[in-house]
């Protein structure tokens, strides 16, 4: 099979979830009371909003991830042809990773990799 396998598996997954949800709704015993509709936290009513401001650390790691993600995307064609190109590819990648390593070292030095 070719790419239509993606489509087939996609539809199969949707079918699985829809069917299971339907069966579950059909078979389950239902009851209702106000306490059941509260968020499940500590048994008492929840205090304060959930959707609050999170700290900037998450953003910082996400952007570092994105940088290295792009790097992986560029390294993949390199890795595939490495064997046939040889020396040029080796020199190339040492320079490439050295420059990126500088970035990582900078982040380390500025304590951006430290969770606080």
């Amino acid at each position: 099979m070719g790419y239509e396998a993606i489509l087939v598996l996609l539809l199969a997954g949707v079918f699985l979830i829809v069917l299971a949800n339907f069966l579950s709704n059909l078979l389950s015993h239902k009851s209702d009371n106000p306490a059941k509709r509260e968020p499940y936290e500590c048994g008492i009513e929840t205090i304060g909003p959930t959707w609050i401001q999170f700290k900037v650390g998450y953003y910082l790691f996400a952007i570092l991830f994105l940088v290295f993600d792009v790097e992986v995307a560029f390294l993949i064609p390199w890795a595939v042809v490495y064997k046939e190109i040889g020396t040029v590819a080796l020199v190339e990648i040492i320079i490439f990773l050295f420059i990126l390593g500088l970035g990582l070292a900078y982040a380390w030095k500025k304590r951006a990799l430290k969770w606080e």
Binding site: Y3, E4, I6, L7, P49, W51, Q53, F54, V56, Y58, Y59, L60, A62, I63, L64, F65, L66, V67, D69, V70, E71, V72, A73, F74, I76, P77, W78, A79, V80, V81, I85, V88, A89, E92, I95, F96, L97, I99, L100, L102, G103, L104, Y106, A107, K110, R111, A112
Partner: protein
């Protein structure tokens, strides 16, 4: 079959793009944007350009969307709905979009496309050979410059995110 899939994917892109800009809940807008990006990668897979499709999924679907979600969560009061745009702004935005659409359509319909006679799917190895080629049509210098660009991104992000502490 492929034509039907193409139209389904295109319809998804159009619908979710509009939903994304018109949704008043910010995280839902992000989700609609994610659907747009996934559908675009679907089109890449459809034209048998699977490398670009996978890059689209990894970098945009997995990377940029997570980054956007984290940046959204940096905002105060995200539980509030965005305010309704005034009619004047809506009209201006609509006009600009219509102009853009018009120019794109005009460009597409006037460009003399030629049908490809030989079909060849692009392998990752072909991309690699181009990327590391130093002769004619090689991209070895841009490949190196990318690493400098990524370095600049890291430094920029750290300066922005830790700006206050660095100045102290």
């Amino acid at each position: 079959m492929e034509t039907i899939l193409f139209y389904i994917l295109s319809a998804l892109i159009v619908i979710f793009s509009i939903a994304s800009v018109s949704s008043r809940k910010i995280l839902r807008a992000v989700t609609y944007l994610l659907f747009v990006l996934i559908a675009i990668s679907g089109i890449y897979f459809l034209v048998d350009y699977s490398f670009l499709g996978a890059v689209q999924l990894t970098v945009y679907g997995g990377g940029v969307i997570v980054l956007i979600i984290f940046s959204v969560l940096l905002v105060h009061h995200i539980e509030l709905e965005l305010e309704v745009t005034p009619l004047k702004k809506k009209i201006i935005a609509g006009l600009i979009s219509a102009t853009g659409l018009g120019i794109t359509l005009w460009a597409i319909y006037t460009f003399p496309f030629t049908n490809a006679t030989t079909y060849k799917s692009i392998e990752v190895a072909d991309i690699g050979r181009k990327l590391l080629g130093y002769g004619d049509g090689g991209f070895i210098l841009p490949f190196e410059v990318i690493s400098v660009l990524l370095l600049a991104v890291i430094i920029g992000a750290i300066v922005i995110a830790k700006g206050k502490k660095l100045n102290e």
